[in-house]
């Protein structure tokens, strides 16, 4: 589900590549990752089995740039295509804003394509999403293989909602970007329609239906084949919209950055301080280790000197031994747990002693 963050002037959308096993979903994502400019893409993360079959999902973030004043980001996911993994497929599909259905163009894969598409419809409905209205693009992949079905045949069998279709050879990268480009366009136009209705006014909105039906675009189709762009919002957001002016925004960002840096420095100082304390503890422990053994105790604590002259020497030594070991263990615990204990004590004092917890 799209997240709109006016504080960052950012929009986040989730796009999912769906389709049967081995149809080329992960390959699509790998191509996008390979071809996208380095500054616009994040890491490609795969949760895959040893045999490179997707176990949970593949993921990569892609930053489109400023669209209508908002920094637009896409999170691209693939689902595991194998029938067995329907539970994880559902999880990945949760909150999807758009779907690329990657179909294998080979005739003997048609049943798998249809089964996967039906599964997509079921899973979308289960999550309250409407397969008819969710932005969707179909990709006829593996066009380089011999004896593949024609786009018309694939369209007739699979494209029941009239989604845009693209031919592709994902392994060579052909058709991968046009597919994603189209989906990105549909998702953003839908969002603009949803949040621009008031401005369009009755009759003023030229928003198209979900998409013009049966728009088929081969991999090398010109951009002009895309549907007419929707009429833009009639006016920019009013002043009371929480939009920061650039200069102010920059100043705030700078200040926030400085504060963050200051906090970081403070944290580093605290870490160093704690490390020094720990080192001192360790030093003390080492010193204790180096002290004379219990049998020599009669020479260490001067305060105990007179006692050793008295009777019951064995009992005295035993008592001394218990006292010293007890002290050493206690000091060790106090050194390790002191800061945490103090922290808990402070907090309890604040709550139980009528004090106000910090920051409230």
């Amino acid at each position: 589900m799209v997240q709109i963050n006016f504080a960052k002037r950012e929009i986040n959308c989730k796009l999912v590549y769906y389709g049967p096993g081995l149809s080329g979903k992960t390959t699509n994502l790998e191509v996008v990752h390979k071809k996208a400019p380095a500054s616009k893409k994040g890491e490609l993360t795969s949760i895959a089995t040893e045999g490179d079959r997707t176990l949970f999902f593949d993921y990569m973030p892609l930053e489109l740039g400023k669209v209508g004043g908002m920094n637009t980001k896409f999170q691209l996911y693939t689902v595991p295509g194998q029938v067995y993994y329907n539970a994880t497929r559902k999880l990945v599909l949760q909150g999807a804003d758009g779907v690329v259905f990657v179909a294998d163009s080979q005739p003997d894969k048609m049943d798998e394509n249809l089964e996967s598409f039906q599964n997509l419809e079921e899973n979308l409905r289960e999550q309250g999403l409407d397969p008819k209205t969710i932005p969707m693009v179909l990709q006829w992949n593996k066009r380089d293989l011999p004896n593949v079905l024609t786009p018309e045949e694939l369209d007739a069998k699979m494209n029941k909602y009239g989604a845009p279709t693209f031919e592709a050879v994902a392994v060579t990268g052909d058709g991968v970007f046009p597919t994603l480009k189209k989906l990105a366009q549909i998702v953003l136009e839908k969002l603009n329609r949803e949040y621009g209705l008031q401005n369009d006014g009755p009759g003023g909105g030229s928003a198209p239906a979900k998409e013009p039906p049966k728009e088929k675009e081969p991999a090398k189709a010109p951009a002009a084949a895309t549907p007419p762009p929707k009429k833009p919002a009639a006016e920019p957001p009013p002043a009371k919209e929480p939009v920061r002016e650039p200069a102010k925004a920059k100043a705030q960002d700078d200040r926030a950055e400085r504060e963050r840096a200051e906090r970081e420095r403070e944290r580093e100082r605290e870490r160093a301080e704690r490390e020094r304390e720990r080192e001192k503890d360790r030093e003390r422990d080492r010193e204790k280790e180096a002290r004379p053994k219990p049998r020599d105790f009669n020479v260490t604590p001067p305060a105990q000197e007179p006692a050793k002259k008295g009777g019951g020497k064995g009992v005295l030594l035993l008592l001394l031994l218990i006292a010293v070991i007890g002290g050493a263990v206690g000091a060790g615990f106090a050194g390790k747990l002191g800061p945490l204990q103090k922290h808990y004590d402070d907090h309890l004092r604040q709550h139980l002693g009528g004090g106000t917890p910090a920051g409230q």
Partner: protein, 174 residues
């Protein structure tokens, strides 16, 4: 002819998370306070779809977007495990490492608090202790956000008409 959004779309629009600067300011303040008390390293709020909302603390060396996606998936998977066991969900999850650990706590029904902490600085118990207090605070903020009337204002400004140029820049003129 303008298309009326379907019932599903209307429902989605109501569920959609929209954060304004003031919201993020309040959330960040609560997170910072919690971070100081719990002595954690970094705190992120992400939505259940895996989009980061905001974060405070030291994020050096952490790929926020990837961790957000993985955390959301992890939470979603665990929710299914909870259902199998007859629970609605597990409200918190902890992954403990030798040095760095992470705790996830559900906030409201749409966001996940992600706390990264160093086991030398604090303990799971301490983090959990303060998390409860923070989650209550954040829930109150989220309830306000949820009950706020949709402003109905457009998201995009007039530059939206240049979208195709932006798409061309990214994907080429195809």
């Amino acid at each position: 002819m303008a298309m009326k959004p379907s019932d599903t779309d209307q429902k989605l629009r109501k569920q959609r998370l929209i954060f304004y600067e003031d919201d993020i300011g309040r959330i960040n303040k609560a997170l910072e306070n919690y971070q100081n008390l719990s002595k954690s390293r970094c705190n992120m709020l992400i939505d259940v779809e895996g989009h980061p909302v905001t974060q405070v603390g030291s994020t050096e060396g952490i790929n926020l977007e990837t961790i957000a996606a993985l955390v959301a998936a992890s939470f979603a998977a665990t929710k299914e495990v909870a259902k199998i066991l007859g629970e609605t969900e597990f409200s918190s999850l902890t992954h403990q490492g030798k040095n760095e650990s992470i705790q996830l706590s559900i906030v409201g029904d749409r966001t996940i608090l992600t706390t990264i902490f160093d086991s030398q600085d604090t303990t799971v118990g301490m983090v959990m202790f303060y998390t409860k207090e923070l989650v209550e605070k954040l829930n109150a903020i989220f309830n306000e956000i949820k009950s706020r009337k949709d402003s109905g204002k457009p998201i995009f400004n007039d530059d939206f008409k240049d979208m195709s140029g932006v798409l061309d820049d990214m994907f080429g003129d195809v």
